[in-house]
Every structure is written in C-alpha cells, then in structure tokens.
C-alpha cells in the first residue's frame, strides 16, 4: 500500500503530541491569517510552516504531494491574475507587476491552506481528530447538535471508505471476469458502464447498513451521551501554545 494523501505519519514530536483540539483551532486561526496575509505575513507564515514541518519530522516531499492534485488550478489562478490585473506593465505581453504580486500571493494562500490542513492530518490520527472535533462540538448541544452522534457518524464514514473501495474492486473484477471492459469507448460510454458498478455497491451498502444498525443496537448503542476510552486533557503546554497562537493571529490580522 503506497503513501496516501495527507495520511497520518506516526511520530512522537511536540506537534504529534499536541492536543487535537489545539491543532484544529490552530488550523482555523492559521487559515484566517493566511487569507488576510500580505507579503510580510506570508513570509512569516512560510517560515512558521517550514519550522513546524521540521519539528514534526515530516517529509517535505510527502507534504507537498498534498498540493499536487490541485496544481493546475493554482497555475490558472496565477496566470489569470498575472495577465488580467491592471497596473504597471512588465516585459511580458499583457502582464503587470501588480498582477505578478497578486498572482503569487493568491496562489501562496491556497497552497498554504492546503499545507496546513495536510500537517494536521499527517500528525493526528483519525481517532484523535475525531475526539477533537467531538469535544469542540460539545458546546453546540443547546442548538440540537449532538457531538456524540456526529462523532459516531464521521468515524463510521472513515471506517467504511476502505471497505467500500475493496468491495468496488471486487464488483469490478467480477464484471471484468465476465467480459466487461471499463477502459474501452469514449467518456460517455465509460460513465454509463460505471453505473453497473454503482448499483450493486449501493445495494450492498443499504443491506450492510441494516445489519450494522442491528449490531450497534445489540451493543447498546443509543443516541446521545456516551463515554470514550480516552478523554482529551489539555496540558499546560497545550494552553500555552493556544494562547501564543491567538496572540500571533491577532497581531497578523489586525496589524494595520
């Protein structure tokens, strides 16, 4: 099994050990700052992210791979701004200095939004992430949002994605064994053929959901409060980092 996008990379660094709630809040704060950043802040954040990557001992090439699927999108953003921003011309047809600046900054913003999310998922196990989200959603209970139900739902989605993919493979192989060719024909023909995969998959999933529900009831599942094997506990260093981040965000966003 190859390396998957944003996949958890085991480690024992400070970043790995941070309370997941701190990391989630940090990503939110960082995103706000990134979206409002100017050149100076952008450089500061670039150094910060590079530092975090180093401390967490993440492989920069793995991290950058998270950006790859959207590379074309970034190039487009950059080119559009480069050529369509009015301002002082540079020695390139239609391009302007203002366009260059805006193009670079905007592309940088998107890239760093993705990178910071990738750092979160690479240093936090899905389970930790789940309990982090669950705890952060708890105050929303008066609004009728049950953090426990949400946590069960999300963790089941994460649990069943690999199973569904395996099943999809099996269905496809079974059909290929009977002569189906999923690569032949034009796009439309191929898309039509995909429906022959999706229908059995959906059918299986519905049947599975029923059994799953019975199994969960059998293990005492009920909506509403439950307890967890590990309750998150904020350490003094978690609080410190959170406060520092808040101050930095405040400074970054309201500098002017």
């Amino acid at each position: 099994m190859g390396y998957k996008l944003g996949q958890y990379t085991p480690g024992s660094s400070v970043i790995h050990r941070l309370d997941p709630r701190v990391k989630i809040v940090a990503i939110m704060l960082l995103s706000i700052t990134v979206l409002r950043a100017d050149a100076f802040i952008a450089i500061a954040i670039t150094i910060l992210i590079a530092g975090i990557t180093f401390i967490a001992r993440l492989s920069p090439s793995h991290l950058l791979r998270a950006v790859k699927p959207l590379a074309i999108f970034f190039v487009l953003i950059f080119l559009m701004h480069l050529f369509f921003t009015p301002g002082a011309p540079i020695p390139l047809p239609l391009a302007t200095y203002e366009g260059l600046y805006r193009g670079v900054l905007l592309t940088w913003r998107f890239v760093f939004l993705i990178l910071s999310a990738a750092i979160l998922t690479m240093t936090t196990t899905p389970s930790e992430l789940m309990s982090g989200i669950e705890r952060l959603l708890r105050p929303l209970r008066p609004l009728g949002i049950s953090s426990h139900d949400a946590a069960v739902m999300v963790s089941m989605v994460l649990r069943f994605v690999p199973t569904l993919l395996q099943e999809l493979d099996q269905i496809r192989e079974a059909q290929m064994a009977r002569g189906a060719d999923f690569k032949a024909g034009n796009l439309l023909a191929r898309m039509k053929r995909i429906s022959s995969l999706v229908i059995p998959l959906v059918r299986n999933s519905i049947l599975r959901a029923e059994e799953l529900a019975i199994g969960m009831e059998g293990r005492g599942y009920h909506r509403g409060p439950r307890t967890y094997m590990r309750e998150l506990r904020m350490t003094p260093s978690d609080y410190t980092i959170l406060v520092v981040l808040m101050i930095l965000t405040g400074l970054g966003v309201y500098r002017w």
Partner: protein
C-alpha cells in the same frame, strides 16, 4: 437463565411463521449448540434471545426479564451478546481498540474502565497486539475475533453466535472454537448456531431445528445416536 416459551415468529408480510412454537431453556454457563439446515429459523431464534426481535406469540425471558418490555431492552442486550455472521458489518471503529470500546462507551463507563475492558477482551481472544490496527487490514478470522472481543467487553452472561466459523479455514476455525470453549469454561454461556456437525461434539446440549421447530434436543451422545 434464558427461557423461551411457545415462541412463534412471523415476519411482517409473511403468511408462514418462521418459528412455530419453540420451547427451550438455557442455563448459566451452559454450552448449547443449535443446529439445522439453512432457513430453518436458527438466526431468527437467536435474535429473540437478545430482544432484537419481539415475539409474534409466546414469551422470551432473560434472567427473568421479558424481552417484550422495551424499557429493559438495554440490560437484556448487555447480558446476551450477539455475534453475527459477517464481521464486516459489525466492526464500526476506526481501530480495533476503538471498536471494542464502542459497547462500553454506550454503557457510559468511565474511560479507565473502558480501557481495562478493552485490554482484557482483546487478550481473551488473543488479539492484544492488534489494538491499533485498522479493521480493513485484518484477515477474516481476525475480524471474527474482534467481533467476539466487542461482545466480551460488554461483560455478557450469554453469547449467541451465528455461524462463528463460516468461511474460515480449518486452523482458524480451531482457534475460534478453542477460544469459545475457554470462555465457556470461565462461566459465559454459549449459544452456538451452526450447520456443521463436527464443531459441536463438545457442547453440553444440542438442539436440532427443522422447519421452525426444535425436533431433537439432548446431549451430543443422545442426539447423534438418535440421528
């Protein structure tokens, strides 16, 4: 003790009942095998033992609690654990230990006790070193053992197993069966549903089902000499 009295079950929309008057008793610590051809109502019967189904007629009591009483269904299900055929449809945690922790979490036990139960349950089925594994990386037999640990973590008095060894190879089957016998030795009653004769020779009692009824019941010697 589990007591089933004149149990009749008819699924909604069906004319013919699946169970047609079942009477049986299962004592604490007993190893009972229920055997019979596919479609004879074995699975339907054990679903009644932990109140997943309500009787059309008759009654089912678990330690004196009637399964028709919806207010105590939670306690009935805790006492009678149920392991279904397909482990893929029972494992819901992202990791093995989280999956085992699901049941105790539903009982709202404190984290420390959940951790203890998870460790004990995984050790009891020989899966202690698999705690952090992702379910989709496990083999069929390992998944089966995880579902057994899931139930053990609930501290049940009875465990009903629906074909616990189907689609397992011979070696893995032996592992599962020996674990079941050991747990039974520790006082948990086993209700083992199968259509495989050679698995149940060591059961305390065998009930042979056919067409929604129990047609034969007794010790393995009695049953096999009667066949």
């Amino acid at each position: 003790m589990i007591k089933v009295e004149n149990l009749v079950h008819r699924y909604d929309g069906d004319d013919v009942p699946v169970l047609r008057g079942i009477n049986l008793e299962i004592k604490e610590g007993e190893y009972v095998a229920i055997i019979g051809p596919i479609g004879c109502g074995k699975t339907t019967l054990i679903k009644h033992l932990n109140a997943l189904l309500a009787p059309t007629e008759g009654n089912v009591w678990v330690d004196g609690m009637n399964t028709r009483d919806t207010s105590i269904v939670g306690e009935i299900r805790r006492r009678v654990g149920m392991v279904f055929q397909n482990p893929d449809n029972q494992i819901i945690g992202m990791t093995v230990e989280e999956d085992v922790a699901f049941g105790p979490g539903n009982l709202r036990l404190p984290p420390r006790e959940i951790r203890q139960r998870v460790t004990e349950a995984l050790q009891a089925v020989g899966m202690g070193s698999y705690a952090q594994r992702h379910p989709h990386t496990l083999s069929g037999g390992e998944k089966r053992l995880v579902t057994l640990a899931d139930i053990l973590a609930m501290n049940p008095s009875y465990i009903a197993l629906d074909e616990p060894t189907s689609s397992l190879d011979r070696a893995t089957r032996e592992v599962v069966l020996s674990i079941l016998r050991r747990l039974n030795g520790q006082g948990i009653a086993m209700i083992h549903v199968t259509h495989n004769m050679d698995e149940i020779t060591s059961a305390d009692r065998i009930m042979v089902m056919g067409d929604g009824r129990i047609v034969l019941s007794g010790t393995p010697e009695e049953v096999f000499s009667g066949v």
